[in-house]
Subunit: 410 residues, 2 copies
Amino acid sequence: MELLKVDTIESAREKLIHAMQEKKPEKIRVESNKSLGYVLAEDLLAQEPVPSFRRSMVDGYAVKSADTTGASENLPVLLEIVEEVSMGVPSHGSVKNGTCAYVPTGGMIPEGADAVVMEEYCEMFDKHHLAVYDPVAYGKNVVSVGEDIRRGELVIKKGTRIRPQEIGVMASLGILDAMVYEPWTITILSTGDELVPPFVQPLPGEVRDINSYALKAQAEVCGLKVQNVMVYKDDREVIKEAVVQSLNRSDLVILSGGSSKGKKDATSQIIDEVTDGNTLVRGLALKPGKPSIFGYDRSRAALAAGLPGHPVAAMLVFELLIVWLYKHMTHQKEGPSLFARMTANLAGAPGRATCQLVRLLKKEQEYYAEPVYGKSGLITTFTKADGYLMIGQNQEGVKKDQQVEVFFLS
Amino acid sequence: MELLKVDTIESAREKLIHAMQEKKPEKIRVESNKSLGYVLAEDLLAQEPVPSFRRSMVDGYAVKSADTTGASENLPVLLEIVEEVSMGVPSHGSVKNGTCAYVPTGGMIPEGADAVVMEEYCEMFDKHHLAVYDPVAYGKNVVSVGEDIRRGELVIKKGTRIRPQEIGVMASLGILDAMVYEPWTITILSTGDELVPPFVQPLPGEVRDINSYALKAQAEVCGLKVQNVMVYKDDREVIKEAVVQSLNRSDLVILSGGSSKGKKDATSQIIDEVTDGNTLVRGLALKPGKPSIFGYDRSRAALAAGLPGHPVAAMLVFELLIVWLYKHMTHQKEGPSLFARMTANLAGAPGRATCQLVRLLKKEQEYYAEPVYGKSGLITTFTKADGYLMIGQNQEGVKKDQQVEVFFLS
């Protein structure tokens, strides 16, 4: 019976997108040189052409190309040098038939010139004249106005997570600030009577808390703003109150823990109560990660999620649903993936999609994916992994040597 | 003649490694929960086993497995319930033949029990007795002490750049701090008479400075510590003094600009002078990126590099030499790559390796690499690219449909 109620990843994603329509990330303006890692919330158009003047691609002489027709080692063309252009200053002269001007790489090409002869093909004939030994074609070594970027051209797409090269483009266009998505804020609550902090030596029956640390780091890596991280013993009323308080302040509230049956019910009840019955997803058809619960709190406009207590399951569900949702809502494109060949057969789980951690091995122009197993799904399986692959719920499995798509964690 | 003096990427790398032997990154201790993005400087060994007590993988009853032999729907085995183990507390009881104890997922398995029957296969017979309907194998649903991590096991390798999962592993093992490499400090100097800051409307002949912004962001992404960023007009003495001052304070000093001939010589002279003649590399057999100069200043124990002024060339040389060197010296493994099929023929450059930016296209279980061209090598070619490929200096080129390795920028 319970299987009938769980959602596939796809249907869970749809429900989350639908619920979060009223909770789309806000747009804020940030300084371009502090925008690394933010996600652009608008298309950036060039307000001016690049280059804004005709530039030379080489150190050489700006000429009228027709003047060089027929030039050769034996019969050089002689041109009068009328100007020496310096970097960073405009050319005030003009090149007419029979004349030329020196221009350094990146320098401004004088009016009238239509090509630049590399200095390697020239020689000073006397103080004021240049011998050109090679003909140059019209337009050669010239970058025209707007040749790199036309005025009004789309230079960076909305949804781009800003990298160093985007910072460079913004600098080149004089774009001093940009509209980006304000990262969703997140509170992470790790729960369990068995949990002790890392600095405590656990007694028999106790374990050190992992999820509050790992999920916090994962949220940071994908660009979310971590507002608060808390660890609670299993006290239903205390946890519920913490969730309510967190929903008041954060866009996302993640509750992890409670994989055992009684606690799963408690998490489910808490999410039901705090969202006023608006639980969207009650279990995922996913291995690992089945005991995942998502609810949307309309009055506080915030998402509450209950993730499994197992760290690997918690991190994978976080990646596949929360990170995915954030990327989707900020128009980011799918993360990087690669195709690799399986080193072993791998069975799927009937009626559930399987998310399998794999290690990548590079051999002779090809990547191989080797499944990383871990009996109890502990976190070390994750540190040995480079990525993960998905086996569909209607797929029996993947075979040794089969080509699979491996995704990297964001 | 000049071609004879330039270094291949490989020989340049070797020279840099050799020079930087006395400048290996220092080791510092950081708190584990603040270590995201740092590079581990020592192997991390588990000081204790995980789990540190026998845990149950399911909600169920801890039993002696031999007791369940022959159990069936028709003929259940009856066991006396002697304990109900709670999460986070030790089991004080012991399971003997004919008895059992309730254990939640993750709970401690009492002494004497050797397997856990899932509660789905049991039913309460009366207040103190359990009916078991299915035999359970020895060891089933039990995670033994040290099964995930043995005491003394290598859990995270030196040279690992710390991700969320490593933070999780450190938390689980009570590793509160770790030795990491102290990032090299870097100063970036962008030079050129033509450069104006992004907020200035360039006059004819002027361009906005890109490199100081893009290289700074690139340094940050790879984990270097940016100490200072400066932009200078082409004044040889001023630049030389700035380089000297920077070498006193930073491990790496990057000078970019000066692609035109006269300026390249000036950069070369400055690096010669400040390193007391210890210029290691005077030009790279690389397209783009030929006018790159590297010197090691022994007295100040710092590397001085002159990169091309073209932003794309500067960023690629930064990636292939500076980032590569930092990763090598901190024992990081090669960055991620994938294999893709070329969408077009691409010629190499005679006598030089070629670094070509490519866009990745995913079609039917395969990635295709499409070269991104840009006449003057401006930065927009970079924003359109997903990665780059290398064509060796003795390689004629790569053919359409050929499989190539595409590297991502760090």
